[in-house]
Symmetry: C2
Subunit: 235 residues, 2 copies
């Protein structure tokens, strides 16, 4: 309180430091991959000395794993916040797709980290008992929604929830994580607002059309208040 606040060479803040290190590491690993990441850059970005990384977290590999676990922890936690109970089945599936899409959009580092880890054939993830125990609630959510949909007559078939989960993730993931190369190949910016709206509409339409048997879903615009995205071209 009254203690003189004389200018210190540095402030002590172990928790804050640890968080800043992990955040900086997330940036660095997602931007450059594991091998491309530079420990010095992480330190600099965290406003810390390089030695701090080793003091607070561990060596490069442990740092990377900590970042990865944090990323999984975050998405699982947000996933649990999605309540589909009170929605009718088609709307529930739509929400699920929208959530996945928006989460990936809002957290591009998560996509990069996944790519990096898969490039390493999940070598690090395998060592993480923590992540192994963090099951996505989505599989069970999908199972429930699909069951309700079949019972209500909205859905025609009881599709395997794991397959559907992977499909939804895949439709979103591929477009976003590969948007750079795809944009080059198609010669247009796939991350432009219109392109993203069009994509979301297509994905929701595809899945819902398959489940409901009403192909018209494929032509509907999901949520495009003003943008007149061309979802389907004229034949």
């Amino acid at each position: 309180m009254a203690k003189a606040k004389r200018t210190l060479k540095w402030q002590r803040d172990p928790e804050g430091m640890r968080l800043r290190i992990l955040e900086a590491a997330k940036q660095e690993f997602s931007a450059h991959g594991l091998a491309g990441a530079r420990v010095d850059r992480i330190a600099a970005k965290a406003g810390a000395n390089k030695r701090m990384l080793y003091y607070h977290v561990g060596n490069k590999d442990e740092l990377y794993l900590a970042v990865l676990e944090g990323a999984y922890d975050k998405i699982r936690s947000e996933e649990r916040g999605l309540d589909l109970e009170h929605l009718d089945p088609p709307e529930a599936i739509r929400r699920l797709i929208e959530f996945t899409w928006n989460y990936f959009l809002r957290n591009p580092e998560f996509l990069s980290l996944l790519q990096t880890e898969n490039l390493a054939r999940a070598k690090h993830l395998k060592r993480s008992t923590k992540v192994k125990s963090m099951h996505s609630p989505f599989v069970e959510m999908i199972r429930t929604v699909v069951r309700r949909g079949v019972e209500s007559g909205d859905f025609q078939v009881a599709v395997d929830p794991v397959q559907l989960y992977i499909s939804i993730a895949g439709l979103c993931f591929f477009y976003l994580s590969n948007s750079a190369t795809l944009s080059v190949i198609f010669g247009r910016d796939l991350l432009a607002k219109d392109a993203k709206d069009e994509r979301l509409a297509h994905m929701a339409g595809l899945v819902l059309a398959a489940l409901t048997g009403r192909s018209e879903e494929l032509l509907k615009i999901v949520k495009a208040p003003k943008s007149r995205a061309a979802v389907a071209q004229t034949v």
Copy 2:
């Protein structure tokens, strides 16, 4: 011919050497990414001296781009070999999915290279006029097939061929390129024969159900002569 075949310290074979270098580089880059790849390892794997890489191809970046261009060249060439003209539309789409799936399965390095390049936000690909001009024939093939399908009544809607192309690629790509992390998370081997069969069936079913409006497609087994893959679970 009659020339004495005295033991030489090395043989001359510029073309073969170049190919061996590119093949070794493909292995290395796909296994370790760009930053993780080691020039020395590439040289060793190619049975060459490190200096040869620079002599025949260029520095690490040029080597990487050459590999990437080669990979695109190869898939485009195989894609062109797919003839869908004489097939009825649903079967044509099925073939398209099967081809994509099998190509990715047979060429895992292609998936890795794509991941690596996207991690680099297509920095290298953008410099390649070569790749930019190599358009996939699939988009036009899909456009034609969809048009035929709508005309014949097989398909209910004229979906955008670009979106469908990305969706098919995405369904296959995500499962395979992320099989490592997904396998850890689900606690089972997604690359096991049964799992792969089940996945192919699901993907084809999903897309065809959406296009035809016949959701039962989602339950069909595509090509599972003996494997009794459970495509859908009981409700």
